[in-house]
Amino acid sequence: MAPSLAPSAAGRSTTGGVVLGALAMLVGAATLGFAVNHFSPHGIPVFPQAASTPLPLPAGLKAISPRDAQAALKTAATVFVDARAPQEYAAGHVPGALNIPPSEFEARLLDHLDAIEGARAIITYCQSVECSEAVEVGERLLESYHGRVYVLEEGWRGWQAAGYPVRQGARP
C-alpha cells in the first residue's frame, strides 16, 4: 500500500476537533441547502406558517389543519369533498362531505354542481397524509371553481384521530 494511504495520512484529530469539524460541515451544508432552495424552482418555504401548509402542494392548493377544517365545518359556506372510493366513504366520512373520487370526477361533479358552485371554500381529503386523490381532485376542481380549495392535512385518519364528527352511509 502506498505510504500516502497509511492510517495516519488523514491525521488523527482531537475529539473537540472532530466535533467542531462535524458542526462546521453541518452548518455549511445547511447554508448551501437554504441557498439552493431559495433559487430552485422546486424550492419550498422554510417555515410554512405563512402558507399554512406543512405539505408542499401544487400551486393554487393550500393545506388546512384538521382543527381549522373542523371550525369551517360549522359554516355552511364550506363544502367538504371526500376523494376516496365509495366503500370507504360509506364506512365513515366528514358530515356533509360530497363523495367525488378522481375516477368518477366528471359525473360526480355534475351531481353536486350546485353545492360546489355555491361554496365559499372547498376542503378535499383522502385517506391519509400520503394519499394523492385529494390533491388530484383539488387540482381538477381549480380548473372550473374559482374559490379557495384546501387539502385536509392529515386526511381522513387525522380527522378520525382528532375525534371530530363522523357520519356513516352513502349519503352526505
Binding site: 494511504l5 492510517p7 495516519s8 495520512a9 491525521g11 466535533v19 419550498i44 397524509v129
Partner: protein, 170 residues
C-alpha cells in the same frame, strides 16, 4: 484541517499518529478504511441527490414520520439532503474523515430512532431513504437493520481515519 488538530504536542512531520496501545489489526488497514469511506460516503451521496432535487417531495416523506412539528418539516426537507451530500463527499475523498463519519453516524442513529418510533406506532409509510421519489420502498425493520450495519464503516473511519488526500507537511 484534519492534520492541524493533532493534540497538544507538535508532531514531527510524517510521524504516524497511531498510539502505542492501539495495536493495528486488519481493521486498521488503510485499504479497509478506503473501502469503508467509499462505500458509506458513496451511499450517502447517491441517495442524497434525488432528495435535494425535490425538497417538496422529500419534506412530505419527512412529514409522514409524524415526529417533527409540521413547522420544522420543511427545514429538515431543505437541509438534510445537503448534509448527507456534503458529509458523504467529504468521507469519500477523506477530507475531515472523522468529522464526516461522526456526522453520518449521527444521521444513521437519527434514522434508526425515527424509523423505530414510526414502526412502533404502527405507521405504514414510505421510508424515503434510497429512492424516495420512485416510491415503493416501505419503512420496515430491514431498513433499520441496514442503517445499523452502516454504523460499522462509520466506526472504522472514526477509529482509524484514512484519506485519499496526501497529508500536507508543515
Amino acid at each position: 484541517m484534519a492534520g492541524l488538530a493533532g493534540g497538544g504536542l507538535p508532531r514531527p512531520p510524517g510521524c504516524p499518529a497511531v498510539t502505542a496501545r492501539r495495536r493495528p489489526t486488519w481493521l486498521a488497514h488503510p485499504a479497509v478504511g478506503a473501502v469503508c469511506r467509499v462505500l458509506l460516503g458513496g451511499i450517502f451521496v447517491y441517495t442524497a441527490v434525488p432528495k435535494l432535487m425535490r425538497p417538496d417531495e422529500f419534506a412530505r416523506l419527512v412529514y409522514g414520520y409524524r415526529i417533527l412539528h409540521p413547522d420544522m418539516v420543511n427545514l429538515v426537507g431543505i437541509t438534510l439532503p445537503w448534509v448527507e451530500l456534503v458529509a458523504g463527499a467529504f468521507l469519500v475523498v477523506g477530507l475531515l474523515p472523522q468529522s464526516a463519519a461522526l456526522l453520518i453516524g449521527a444521521m444513521l442513529l437519527m434514522f434508526i430512532v425515527a424509523g423505530s418510533l414510526a414502526l412502533l406506532r404502527g405507521l405504514q409509510i414510505e421510508c424515503g431513504c434510497f429512492f424516495p421519489l420512485l416510491g415503493g420502498h416501505k419503512l420496515g425493520w430491514d431498513v433499520l437493520v441496514r442503517d445499523a450495519l452502516l454504523l460499522l464503516p462509520a466506526a472504522q473511519v472514526l477509529a482509524w481515519p484514512s484519506s485519499f488526500v496526501p497529508r500536507r507537511r508543515r
